[in-house]
């Protein structure tokens, strides 16, 4: 599955995204980085077909992704919040998104159990979301996104609400799941350390209205510590530019 983002831009009252282009091959783990408010989440929502772009186009294997239209390709999304239905067990939450795929109830439950197990939630299938920890809820949300066997998995700062320890555990888990399933992932984060630790392609966005400031292959050719330092310098420059520019620019 090949993802292409071609000159995508978005205006609200002000231009938020000027023009962003990048591509991801099957099995890539793309991390979107950038200063707060530069439109990372918006870009992810455009890629997922949740919101329309003002300019440019997104294609999955050559098929255009258009907001509010059912696209052929399957896209799984993990939001900043878990967005689980509190009145359904973890199994039913995962099973629910399998209903449009036309699976029988027993098959849905079996698939849900399989992906919950993959996400480290074996034994918790019958729990309600309110009875497990925040980290476990986010794992269930990941299991839900994976269960539809998506061509593309989008994750929007999925560990933002977790403490440092759980965050590290979840990063390792996501990387393991990514290796096991070979899914193409686009992952939004504001943590450079996180991006360098888990991403294969790092897309650093500029201050608003955003463009791609730097596209880095994180394939081990550059030393991690140096990469983190470089990216930190870049993000500080962009933060300053954004503050200097003010919201009306």
């Amino acid at each position: 599955m090949k993802l292409e983002v071609a000159a995508v831009g978005k205006d609200y009252l002000i231009p938020v995204i000027d023009s962003v282009s990048f591509a991801a091959e099957a099995g890539d783990f793309v991390c979107l980085l950038g200063p707060n408010g530069c439109g990372k989440t918006t870009l992810l929502r455009i890629v997922g077909g949740i919101e329309p772009a003002t300019r440019g186009r997104v294609t999955l294997d050559g098929h255009a992704v258009i907001a509010d239209q059912r696209h052929v390709r399957k896209v799984g999304v993990v939001f900043q919040e878990d967005r689980l239905l509190p009145w359904m067990t973890l199994r039913d939450n995962v099973g629910l998104v399998l209903t449009p795929l036309g699976l029988a109830a027993a098959e849905r439950a079996a698939t849900a159990d399989r992906y919950l197990k993959l996400a480290g939630l074996g034994g918790f299938e019958d729990y309600y979301p309110g009875r497990v920890s925040g980290g476990m809820r986010q794992r269930a949300a990941i299991a839900r996104a994976l269960a539809i066997e998506p061509d593309l998995l989008l994750m929007d700062e999925p560990f933002g609400a977790l403490d440092a320890q759980n965050r590290r555990i979840m990063q390792t888990e996501v990387r393991r799941i990514w290796r096991q399933t070979g899914r193409t992932i686009v992952f939004v984060t504001h943590s450079i350390e996180e991006a360098v630790a888990i991403g294969t392609t790092l897309v650093m966005l500029s201050a608003r209205p955003s463009r791609v400031r730097e596209l880095i292959k994180n394939d081990g050719h550059v030393e991690r510590a140096k990469l983190v330092d470089d990216l930190n310098t870049m993000i500080m420059e962009e933060v300053e530019r954004q503050q200097g520019a003010g919201p009306g620019a």
Partner: protein
Amino acid sequence: MIVAAWWLLSLRYGAYVLPSPVAVVSGLRDIVTSGEIWKHTAASLARIAVGFGGAVVVALLLGLVAFLSRLARGVVHDVLAVLNSTSVFVWIVISIIWFGLSNWAPIFTTFMITLPVVASNIVEGVASVDRRLLEMGDVYHLSGRRKFTAIVVPSTLPYLVAGMKVGFGLALKVSVVAEIFGVTSGIGYVMNYSREILATQMVFVWALVMIAVMTVTDKLVFDTVSRRLTRWRA
């Protein structure tokens, strides 16, 4: 203590103003043995079932309309505000004019009074459905019907139960008042009749019956239902 005070006061003011606890207990025993208690309670409950039941059905339809259209939600909201501020007496008088001295007068009054209470709860519940959950449903291509049954209905149910609980209490109070006019059965009728024949102790007895009906439905029906509905809460 209360019973003792009641008894002393009843001695002071006489049986017409305040009958003694003994008279009330024996009155209660009389209507239980004669079966009158069931006859009138059943008559009142039957009217409530029709009036209040109708109100719940219409309220559900209004909730559905409010969910489907933002414009309709505004209209429903305004209509409910008007109904909510209309007095019980207005509906009693109007229903007597429209339906005469018949069963339909208390039924209609109950319907008109409980409708806004139940409906505003449902509309509020529908409005409070988490948009982020609906967006999740869109992302995973859930059908409109699936989103309705899996997301909208469970979010709204607690509001419905709360509205029905308040609405039922109101239905009981209102229908009893409406029964004073024109019908020959029901708790309201028999209370008013007891007053006319100067049997004040029976007024107290029926008041106790009303309280009992209210408490029992509250504890047995509504508390059980809301506990079952929220069993997923941590």
